[in-house]
């Protein structure tokens, strides 16, 4: 962190610093100044790990990683929301209460359904399976899969992450291909497990999907932080291309698409009110730009963006599925 030139770009980029200045003193303080004195702060839990600070940092410092490391030092978290998520993980091996779903248990392409999908909140397994099938895959979900560990790693729960990884690892490594819906899972499986996994949009890039002539809809395409900055901005190019190819769909260009929804990195659990406020600002922007619908290629963002109830927000694979021929 000695490469910090104190330019303050991270502060300008940080949505938490902008909107919650009373509570959050910003990425530079947390990632550069606190570690210098081996200090910690509860503020670390207000960061959504959106990574915008890292993107703009001229010194390319690993700011998010430093903040997550600080959380590790403070483990276990003291806030009620994350305590609940941890208890849930100990009890069910998932970060969201899993529900029943139906999907083939054998096939060629393993769909890693993710906790939000299994909890049937967004990116539901049945619809994603249908989409993958339409794209020519033979998808299946192994019933033994559990949480990838990504949300827990953001809380600093290193041991619990290892436990979950050991359950998933053999099931993932025996698969021919692994596809995920949630960008958090994509990054986790690639980087932490060392197993190649594609985000569903990357998988669909060369697929020939046939869409119905649906109703005209003006879409606000949300850029999920962990997809566009984590997995990579190329995925958003694919998302735009697919939406542009759909009859009746107009993708708006509002300029605020890259702003964080406010819910990631454990913030929805730890600071639900703050997560709501950030989402509300974003949805307002979409509304003012004349959008009919928010499409988010991340189940977690879709959940947070629909909380303000101003506009309908759907997970992208569900939207694609709803317009399949």
């Amino acid at each position: 962190m000695n490469g910090c030139i104190k330019c303050g770009e991270c502060l300008t980029a940080c949505h938490a610093y902008r909107h919650l200045r009373d509570q959050f003193s910003g990425p530079r303080r947390l990632a550069v100044e606190y570690p210098r004195f081996n200090d910690t702060s509860e503020e670390a839990f207000i960061c959504t790990t959106c990574g915008y600070c890292e993107e703009v940092c001229p010194s390319e410092l690993a700011i998010t990683q430093a903040i997550v490391q600080m959380r590790g030092k403070m483990f276990p978290p003291q806030n009620e929301g994350q305590k609940k998520v941890l208890e849930l993980a100990y009890r069910t091996d998932h970060s969201v209460e899993p529900k029943e779903y139906s999907a083939p248990e054998k096939g060629k392409t393993l769909l890693f359904p993710g906790c939000v999908g299994k909890g049937r909140l967004a990116g539901r397994p049945e619809e994603v399976i249908k989409l993958l099938t339409a794209a020519g895959a033979e998808p299946y979900i192994h019933p033994g899969l559990v949480c990838c560990g990504s949300p827990l790693s953001k809380m600093g729960a290193a041991e619990e992450v290892e436990r979950l990884k050991n359950i998933n690892y053999p099931l993932l490594s025996e698969a021919e291909k692994v596809v995920t819906v949630c960008p958090g899972c994509t990054t986790m499986i690639n980087k932490s497990y060392g197993i190649a996994a594609l985000h569903i949009l990357e998988y669909l890039q060369d697929a020939e999907l046939n869409f119905i002539d649906g109703d005209d809809v003006r879409v606000y395409l949300h850029h999920p932080c962990h997809l566009s900055r984590g997995v990579g901005p190329h995925v958003m190019d694919i998302a735009k291309e697919i939406l542009d190819s759909m009859p009746g769909v107009t993708v708006l260009d509002c300029g605020s698409e890259k702003d964080c929804c406010g819910g990631g990195g454990g913030v929805l659990a730890a600071y639900p009110r703050e997560a709501y406020a950030t989402a509300d600002l974003k949805v307002k922007e979409a509304q003012e730009a004349g959008a009919d619908l928010i499409v988010a290629p991340c189940p977690f963002c879709a959940v947070n963006l629909r909380r303000p109830k101003r506009l309908k927000a759907v997970e992208m694979s569900e939207f694609l599925c709803s317009r399949l021929k």
Binding site: G8, E9, P58, E60, R229, H234, S256
Partner: protein, 328 residues
């Protein structure tokens, strides 16, 4: 081939280069990541050597957003109260007639006390950080007709919000010339948009990590993609923006490993480092190696320690674009 020209660096030089080549009908890809020095600048441009086409490009790039709507050489107050010359004016840029300066508590871009002390002509005021309506109310209480404020709005909200703030407060507002603030970001954004509109494929948030003959490895998040090109343009800027790196005691261009200057001192305030900053890579007539071109402050003699500003950098890129086009 994936593109005719691959431009590395999306600051003023890279955007100008991409715009001109795209306008000439070439297939251009622009790779950009991080914050270019252009976005950290004060976003004002002063013409040093005439070029009508470049003037027109800047006017057109800003027009849509209410930037650079007027061409007139004017001095404006900086955040420190000194004067700064500029040739392209946006509606809220000419602060030479202002008699009041309002700082906003918690906003470090502009300190009115400092500006007042240095100019002796401005009356300083402090107002609370608040939403637009409340800020307008606070400004209304200031008796002077024209007030300098820190930049508050990004490119999307600049024109509409400044207009609203003026209407509601009944005051004429001017923005201080501030580096590391919003005007630089607005300039950067409008140049990127101009390159896009001209047909450049802008690959944002991506980095060129390696170069082989006729192809580049581009990192996008956790993936890497190969891209083939006809020509490569290095427009990554000098040391601060990452076009050049300080590697041991050597200033080096990180992609091709071109050594620039040896630095005997590791101290930041050393004559050696200043020299390294001002040197850059040698690009004879903008050609640095076979099929490799350079423009902007990465080029020797084009950097800020030599008092080269945005206009010089853009003019260099504008002229270099012609040479790249002719060579292909």
């Amino acid at each position: 081939m994936d593109c005719d020209v691959l431009v590395v660096g999306g600051g003023a030089a890279g955007c100008t280069m991409s715009y001109r080549l795209s306008k000439a009908g070439m297939n251009v890809a622009l790779v950009t990541s991080g914050t270019p020095a252009t976005a950290m600048s004060c976003g004002r441009i002063k013409v040093t050597e005439e070029n009508k086409e470049l003037r027109q490009f800047i006017r057109q790039a800003g027009e849509k957003y209410g930037l650079f709507t007027e061409e007139r050489e004017v001095q404006a107050y900086t955040n420190k109260g000194t004067l700064y010359s500029q040739s392209f004016l946006s509606d809220y840029d000419d602060s030479s007639q202002a008699r009041a300066a309002a700082g906003i508590e918690g906003n470090k871009d502009f300190n009115p006390d400092l500006a007042a002390r240095i100019t002796g002509r401005l009356t300083p005021y402090w107002i609370r950080q608040a939403d637009l309506d409340e800020t307008a109310e606070s400004l209304k209480e200031i008796p002077e007709e024209m007030i300098i404020i820190p930049p508050l709005f990004d490119i999307r909200h600049y024109r509409s919000s400044m207009k609203k703030l003026e209407e509601q407060s009944g005051r004429k507002l001017r923005e201080a010339v501030t580096p590391l603030s919003l005007p630089g970001k607005r300039l950067h954004e409008c140049l990127i948009q101009a390159a896009k509109a001209a047909g450049t494929r802008v690959l944002e948030g991506r980095k060129v990590t390696d170069i082989t003959a006729q192809s580049a490895l581009i990192q996008s998040g956790i993936r890497e993609q190969e891209m083939t090109y006809g020509a490569l343009v290095l427009a990554g800027g000098n040391l601060i923006s990452g076009g050049l790196v300080l590697d041991g005691n050597m200033v080096r261009e990180p992609l091709l490993g071109i050594n620039v200057t040896e630095v005997a001192s590791t101290r930041l305030r050393s004559a050696e480092l200043t020299e390294a900053l001002s040197s850059g890579i040698c690009a004879h007539g903008c050609r640095a190696a076979a099929g490799v071109y350079a423009c902007g402050s990465i080029v020797a003699g084009m950097s800020y320690p030599l008092n080269k500003g945005l206009w010089d950098v853009m003019l260099n890129a504008w002229n270099a674009a012609e040479k790249v086009r002719d060579a292909l």
